[in-house]
Amino acid sequence: MLAFLVRRLIGSIAVLAGVAAVVFFILHLTGDPAAIMIAPDATKDEIATFRHAQGFDRPLVIQFASYAGGLLHGDIGKSLRHETPALALVLERLPATMELAFFALGVMILVAIPAGVVSALRPNSALDWFVRIFALIGQSAPTYWIGLMFILLFGVGLGWLPVSGIGGLRHLILPGLTLGFFSAAKVMRLTRASMLETLGTDYLRTAAAKGLAPIRVIVNHALRNAWLPIVTAVGIEFGTLLSGAIITESIFAWPGIGRLAVQAVADRDFPVVEGVVIVTATIFVLINVLVDVTYVALDPRIRYE
């Protein structure tokens, strides 16, 4: 197990180094932001002077070397827009995004998985149809539309919940549900499919024949075996939640990294975009390791040598 973790760690560092390099070159190939930063009536010479002061005119390889050197020291440079350290800006926004993502994850685990199980237990029942239609809507309706519908219904129409900004549970509900909707629908469908497959197996019939209480059959035997794909999906979906936050955060004026990323891309604020991508990629990689480790706990047959 330890050897596996060490191997995974080395692999992860390689992945992150690759991500850091790719994001740097993609960003810089799209051109620098000198022309949009400076006063719009700036002359060619003034733009050139400004470009030089910012160091945008250095050869790309030199810029990459200084970026890579900084990265090794945990420094990705200063935000071009805010003139403050970019990594600090990203880390400052991370808790808001995590709050949103964990809320959505909670919805996924507490609502989507039980709904999927119940749906699989009574296939083609009214309840199953309801769950499946709900999942279909969740999978097909764009997040933007869902968010606006929530705002119109619960904010503007009923006046129950605030529609913008951060601050306590009430502010969290609408963006959290919006963000979680797509992933929850996916997990719900997967849980249902996985459970249906398990429910048809011989060992479950045996468990039931032994006279075990139905709840024990479902939880200890069926769900336990259906877990693997669900856990994988939940892990990957958590990463999706982090990136899906881009739209949700913009609609609900949520001060997280998604919104920071959108603005930074529009501004060509290179260090901030790099920071967001590297931080998000790190979380994604860590979750994947976590999912792998969880397999061991869930399935005794799995051993990492």
């Binding site: 930063m37 926004r93 909670g106 507490l110 606006l148 006046g159 900004g165 913009s250 609900f252 001060p255």
Partner: protein, 501 residues
Amino acid sequence: MRFRPIALAVALLVSLSALPLRAADLTVTISQGVDADTLSPIRTTNTPTFNVVGQIYEQLAVPEGPGNMSPGLATSWKRIAPTVFEFKLRKNVKFSNGDPFTSDDVRFTVEKIKDPAYKSTQGPYYREVVKIETPDPYTVRFTTATPQALFPALRQRSYIVDAKYWRAHDNGYLEEHPIGTGPYVLKSWRKDEAVELEVNPNYWGPQPPIKHIVFKPIPDAASRVAALRTNESDIITNVPPQYVSTLVSGKTTEMASVKSVRILYIAFNTLQPGPQQNKLVRQALNYALDVPSIIKNVLGGRAYPVPSVIPTNFFGFDPHAAGYTHDVAKAKALLAKAGYPDGKGIDLVLNSPNGRYNRDKEICEAVAGQLALVGVHVTVKTNEWTNYTTQIAKKQVGPMYMLGWGVINYDADGVVTGILTADAPNSAWVNPEFDKTVFAARAELDTTKREALYAKAQAIAHDDAPWLFLFQFEDLYAMSKRITWQPRGDESIVAKLIKPR
């Protein structure tokens, strides 16, 4: 974890009893699309940033209309030689930390902006200034290299910082800890969440009626509208025209609008080969265009046709400017004369930003549709903004591109030298006679003669048709009925003038 659903239910119930109630604490929340970039007023040229720092800092004087400035930190100003401008400063003004405001602060501010090491994007504001003198604490003299009809320091929004305070702190600190002479001081700034301001008790002018101002950025226009309707915001900017009727009929909301200083036009890139290099073609396309119909059908009537290259409420606009009228027959005749009967052989790309201006892409599509009626084939191509502006500055976007341009001092100079003269960063048209005329106007100190020069320049531009002439926008704001407030055409928001109703 089992308690989560219960907690949710409780939260829902609590929220039922907590319907939005606004305490009479006179807090007004303003929602623009983006947060301030910085709270340093001298680093960026971004309008939403200016609107935030503009409550904390002040300018020497504020442009109010053509040739009309209201005093700010300067009480009077005059030209004392063709290249020397003198400002008399307001006495007994203090920064919010107690430092007295003097001519040294003005000099420091301009020198800091011009210092390449500070990387201010406002450098071009002061490009003509070659010398700054401070003969006494309340007098500043600026010398320019050549005579200037307009004084550079009054052309753009330019705020004065506290020299003593700035010398004592590093740039990073100053980005987030503003000290100004203005009516408000900073209480807190949580980036992308809120800038909270409270009234400056030592402000030299009358105390503002609203004690607390919050700038709460909301990027999505539909969400801004929702926030106003739920009383989470009191003033919202850039309202899309499709929400106007909802907001006008709202119990707690109303619209506020003003003719913008910003014009929208479609430039022909005459530096690239193609039919747009032919003047007759450019004229024909202008005749083919039905601008009033676009305003009515795409913008719900919220724009004003501009018959010339200069906005109608600017110094230098020629009220006799003819402008192009919708005349399909004339358009077809001109096309035939140019060698393109029925528009055959003309296939142009019309480049458009996407979401930068109100309904920009839709306007371009309407233009393409109208040009198709005279047989000209136009394809609309949308562009990502940063790349777009960079390529326009390199003259590589063409054969047609849409751009908006706003100058806050209500003077023709910033318009023509920003987007039309051959060396202007956003120009793709060369007409030496036009350039000669507008540069003469820039150096002409006699107002009447200057006006005549702009009339001549407009006639040249009309004939040579560097653009498809479109319109001036109407800026759309919406606000809560709790307050009274008047928007300004220069897109600035002056919080000290907001009043409770």
